[in-house]
Symmetry: C2
Subunit: 334 residues, 2 copies
């Protein structure tokens, strides 16, 4: 592990993207979304993803100059063809259009396809909530999750993020509908650690605690049948509205050769019409249960991590840091 | 248990409501929503709730004639003051307004307060999806669920329903964000059965398998921290947009003396822009895992139950059936 200052990590990511032809503004936004994940301790959505983002641009399946083509199907419903643009660039462009539109319509939604991986959904939730609007953000992914009671993967990890403005900073939650990420399973496999029972099935559809076997299997939905129902509903809602690929047809967020055909859905709504902070404060002040130190509000541990890492730097796996240096064209001695 | 023909159960519920002053159209809709829950095997949201609905009207905390007052805060965002109307009457009136508006705006939402318990959310999801639109429906409730890592209830059971049209009938999922309903815990207590570990805490905030102790305690969120994050997000989103009560201030869905101050949020969106049925068909055809008979699509077991109960009748607890007869003014000999 190497501890790297946030602004240095950001500059390296930006430089690497500019080097393959991204306009500075696009490189800066893509770098920002990766960096915010690192700052909040979500390294699965951090700079680890940059080499693939770069290869995709180099291979022509991602177009770092595109922002997406907007078509208002009706006054409050935007259909976006991402034109293979960088995920955060296409997503922010769509969301900015929604924020502008929602000022008049109250609610507005965008269904996005032909865009790339948009990174940590919480970034968009925080962005919208910081402008005084509420948001529900959904995205689909490659099929990695098994329907409850089945043996094989058929559903994306299909995360949801919800942002609601509040006076002490936005409330932001962001969770996949899988019990755990495939990144976490790979991490266990790399460390030769067992995974908990009920996390995953092996390639034959049998429960396993062997992380290596789980890599070729399927992850469980979180919360059993309920999480399955939610993940499937998101798959249908997003792919239905975005006319994006569904289930096992989804490609392009885990490889660097396929055009990305998943979908995203953003619903921007008004900010709250009542005070919420005293309720959040009451939850923070609750007595913790046996085995817990504190009762946490989603997103706030990440925000505390962010404050710390801004001061103390971000721990990055040395190999990843070195690949960033190479991609940014910085001599190894630097 | 008594097995009752669906149309008889519906007539009794309708008659009971008309008897306390509900217009026939309102009585019919309220009865329909209760009946559909019974047909789908969701007895917790069935006629068991009718005596309370009736008492609330008699006590003046519910107004069976009201449909709610609509105010378009912006072109696609409707704010509804339910005027203490019956939940299904206020909800359907709001949703009908959204369906009409969404024909032009694409997406439209309604935030509802001062309405009563709206029953099984799936009813509204199925209604909207059967008209060719997609919907996300949310509702709050009395605080029955504990924040993850805490000892006391502070969050509603906050269900979500999602409906998406598809050629072989709408996809409809509907789930609370609690691991189980309070009704299920009461049912275990009545049968003197233990509840599984991790379902609930007792009144002191300690884990319990004693259903009787759990009645005065708190239910766990489904899926641990993830379900907590979702349930809390729904609490903030709904109460924020509806300006309804929050957390422990919520009253009126479990008693018959308090004005109901929870909120509902309906988001109506376009129907799918691509075919979805072949994906659902592929899931139905998957090999079941060890211990499962079939891979199910959410909502479809309820639909099969509905077909069966339409043919064979609905099993109703005898005491509840007798109270229905009394409320409908039918002589006991009938």
């Amino acid at each position: 592990m190497k501890v790297v200052e946030a602004k240095i990590l950001r500059s390296l990511a930006e430089a690497a993207l500019v080097r393959v032809g991204a306009p500075v503004e696009h490189a800066s936004l893509q770098a920002e979304v990766l960096l915010e994940a690192e700052l909040r301790g979500v390294s699965s959505h951090g700079v680890l993803r940059l080499p693939r983002i770069i290869s995709r641009v180099v291979n022509g399946v991602s177009n770092a100059r595109a922002t997406g083509q907007h078509e208002w199907a009706s006054s409050a419903f935007l259909v976006v063809d991402g034109k293979r643009g960088l995920g955060p660039v296409v997503a922010k462009s769509a969301i900015d259009a929604l924020l502008e539109r929602a000022a008049g319509t109250g609610i507005a939604a965008a269904a996005v396809t032909n865009s790339n991986h948009i990174g940590m959904l919480a970034w968009y939730a925080e962005y919208v909530a910081s402008k005084g609007y509420s948001i529900v953000a959904l995205s689909t992914s490659e099929a990695l999750v098994h329907p409850w009671g089945s043996r094989k993967a058929m559903i994306g990890t299909n995360p949801i993020a919800i942002g609601v403005p509040s006076v002490n900073g936005p409330f932001v939650m962001d969770t996949a509908t899988s019990v755990v990420s495939m990144g976490e399973i790979h991490d266990h496999a790399n460390r030769k650690a067992k995974i908990p029972a009920h996390w995953a099935l092996d390639g034959n559809g049998n429960p396993t605690t062997d992380a290596e076997a789980a890599k070729n299997g399927a992850i469980a939905p979180f919360g059993q049948a309920k999480g399955y129902a939610l993940g499937l509903a998101f798959e249908l809602l997003v792919s239905g509205l975005a006319a994006s690929a569904i289930g096992r047809d989804v490609r392009g967020t885990l490889d660097d050769t396929n055009i990305c055909n998943k979908g995203d859905l953003f619903i921007v709504m008004p900010g709250p019409r009542r005070e919420l902070e005293s309720y959040l404060q009451a939850i923070r002040g609750m007595e913790p249960a046996e085995g817990f130190d504190a009762v946490l509000i989603p997103g706030e541990r990440g925000r505390a991590c962010r404050d710390r890492r801004l001061r103390e730097g971000i721990p990055v796996v040395s190999e990843i840091y070195e690949s960033l240096l190479r991609l940014a064209g910085v001599p190894a001695a630097a």
